[in-house]
């Protein structure tokens, strides 16, 4: 199969035509015309986005999301590869479950779904899951995480960091000291003191980050910090990198834009773990992402059905959907504020995450021979978020009604168009 993307604007503003043959970029130039023609209309062509942090809920909570609906949401958001967290039912702590998730992703065919394996059996934090079996399965798992829960036992964390060195794996830590966050509901600070909600102090995140940085240094392994939310956490990661410790860090779009004062009316759409922090934290996170201290953006896409949010704050589930708004939110927080360029954004949302995870066919520089995992973005567009138009099965977006910049127009997965003018097309397994 062969087609030509015409009038594609590259990061350096050069406008080119790109021929895609058999899933790879076969030619870049001008005046090209082979096969079907897709006019990019001078919109921006970038490598497909890569998200190392999603919750696809299958198996077990198909009422909130499935691998297929999550994949469609990803394609709409411009992602060609997503990593699925392990906190499913059953937990993705065996080769069987990760292979199931991987296969479901391939069958859906809207983006590549790479399962993340649990660090501990049943996410219970007591004993290691069979990391090697998952690494050697067809899903070829390299990222392991108990996300949703922290690997709080320091010895177990040390062992996990050591053990994954066998296959160049990485431990992605949900940094939350459990004893400091019992029943916690929101950021501990001025707003929580007024609302009478149990606080989730920044130190509970920072204490674990500090400990794990030192453990990673001691055993010489790779540590990834999920969803960094505090100014202090950014400082710790900056310190670790200055010491040459092999640590990478991630920030979510919502933590780059939203603050804890949104909780004031107890609207549970703003309930998320880790919680929304203060403006000072938001500015530190933006700075950290801009200067590269924070390596990547990860959505922490966390779908929940209406009934899990339509209740009093304390009973509501933690989490927000984010795949379909991620790019626009990052543009608003980082590019519209002149803190980052589009080249930086492509690094943080495509090249760097693919590199961390070892997704060789994603996040590639656009050149002949590269796999055609591509996204085309209308950088002049503005749109208003309407939760009823989300492809995700769940509607818990905190950005409802918000006007956001830039819109994903087309997405190509391994040389197949899966999103055309913002609409999902052509699912199904690659022949």
């Amino acid at each position: 199969m062969e087609f030509t993307i015409t009038n594609a604007r590259l990061i350096d503003d050069q406008v080119v035509d790109v021929i895609v043959s058999n899933g790879v970029i076969s030619e870049i130039g001008s005046g090209l015309n082979k096969g079907e023609k897709i006019d990019a209309a001078k919109n921006l062509l970038i490598p497909g986005l890569v998200d190392l942090h999603t919750h696809l809920r299958e198996p077990g909570r198909e009422d909130s999301e499935t691998v297929a609906t999550g994949s469609m949401a990803a394609a709409k958001g411009g992602f060609t590869a997503i990593s699925a967290m392990a906190n499913t039912f059953p937990v993705a702590d065996t080769a069987g479950v990760v292979e199931q998730v991987y296969r479901l992703g391939q069958e859906a065919g809207f983006c590549d779904v790479f399962p993340i394996g649990a660090v501990t059996q049943g996410l219970a934090g007591k004993s290691l899951a069979e990391l090697g079996a998952m690494a050697n399965s067809k899903a070829r798992v390299r990222i392991f995480s108990d996300d949703g829960k922290c690997v709080s036992d320091p010895l177990l964390m040390r062992r996990a960091l050591e053990y994954v060195k066998t296959f160049n794996g990485i431990i992605a830590q949900h940094a939350q000291e459990p004893a400091l966050t019992v029943d916690s509901q929101m950021n501990e600070g001025i707003v929580s003191s007024k609302l009478g909600l149990v606080g989730w102090p920044a130190v509970a995140e920072e204490a674990i980050i500090a400990r794990d940085i030192l453990l990673a240094e001691h055993v010489g392994s790779r540590l990834h910090i999920c969803h960094l939310t505090t100014a202090g956490g950014v400082d710790l990661v900056r310190f670790a990198k200055s010491r040459g410790i092999n640590v990478t860090a991630e920030v979510t779009p919502h933590h780059l834009l939203l603050t804890d004062d949104l909780v004031t009316n107890y609207d549970s759409v703003y309930k998320v773990n880790p919680p929304l922090r203060t403006e000072r934290d938001v500015l530190a996170l933006r700075k950290g992402l801009a200067d590269g201290t924070i390596d990547i953006v990860g959505t922490d896409h966390a779908p929940h059905p209406t009934e899990d949010k339509d209740c009093e704050w304390q009973s509501a589930a933690f989490g927000m959907v984010g795949l379909e708004t991620a790019l626009s939110v990052v543009v608003k927080a980082m590019i519209d504020t002149k803190m980052m360029s589009w080249a930086d954004l492509v690094d943080r949302m495509s090249i760097a995450p693919a590199k961390i995870a070892g997704y060789l066919h994603h996040g590639q520089i656009l050149k002949v021979g590269a796999t055609a995992n591509l996204t085309i973005i209308d950088t002049n567009a503005n749109w208003i978020v309407d939760r009823n138009r989300l492809a995700s099965k769940s509607k818990n977006t905190p950005f409802e009604g918000m006007q956001l910049p830039s819109r994903v127009v087309h997405t190509f997965l391994n040389g197949k168009q899966v999103l055309s003018n913002g609409e999902i097309v052509n699912g199904g397994a690659v022949e």
């Binding site: 509901q185 501990e188 600070g189 001025i190 707003v191 929580s192 003191s193 007024k194 609302l195 009478g196 909600l197 149990v198 606080g199 102090p201 009316n265 107890y266 609207d267 549970s268 009934e307 339509d310 209740c311 009093e312 704050w313 304390q314 009973s315």
Partner: protein, 317 residues
Amino acid sequence: MNKHLLSINDLSAEEAFEILNTASELAKISDGPMKKLPTLRGRTVVNLFFEDSTRTRISFESAAKRLSADVINFSAKGSSVSKGESLKDTAQTLQAMGADAVVIRHGASGAAQRLADSGWISASVINAGDGTHEHPTQALLDAYTIRSKFPQFNQSFDGLRVAIVGDILHSRVARSNVLLLTKLGASVTLVAPPTLIPVGVADWKVKVSYDLDSVLKEVDVLMMLRVQSERMANSFFPSEREYSRGYGLDITRLNSLSKNAIVMHPGPMNRGLEISAESADSHKSVVLDQVANGVLVRMAVLYQLLGGATLIGEVSA
């Protein structure tokens, strides 16, 4: 006045004084031969209690009945947290039953606000205590009680000195009182061990002290809060005795209060822990006035939320 009373933030100082004034008028009527007013005849007030609180429920119930409202007590102990009926289903049931006002007590902070904002129900919502957030009618009845003891603060609490002592962190009574008393002009000092003071307190318009003895001489009102012994288990303080030694109101401390100072407690009291029996029963204690005033103030709130017309007009008609 707003349709709901969810937080003291819903009231301006003028509106708060208006409630207190209405309660004063109601007090005069209550002393007369005909205690019951026809104001809310045909209206339905639902007491929706997800937490046990016999005192508050009875107070609201008698307030509503003295205004001739129909009262339904809906005890829904065991919220959706324990997978009982959800707040939403309960609210929709009440809506179908035609409630005009819902008085809600709930263990979750923000539950009253959630009920009011959700669109599940069109009734007025009165917060009768939500988690560790607020208990606005308690603050109003406390302000009423203070005013009845200090007539010089009839129009403003400017110059009034109040200390609130105890578990500030977990106290909805403290939050509502801080908001109301400072709004009315009083200066408020919070007294507690640092573990029981919220981290964000710097943003509150109060002074904070860890030393009760240094505060005693300089207050007109000493408001003692209930301390739950479960806090000890979570290391908020080492032992009941140590708490009591540092922050309990014993007879020595009672005697060091100024001559006109009063002692308040929202009840129920832990005699021997935050307050000794002698202090609780002393002539400085206004605990029983607080209970009696609770009915008047809650009548005034129901009246203003549901009645609309001014009381004076009502009475003369």
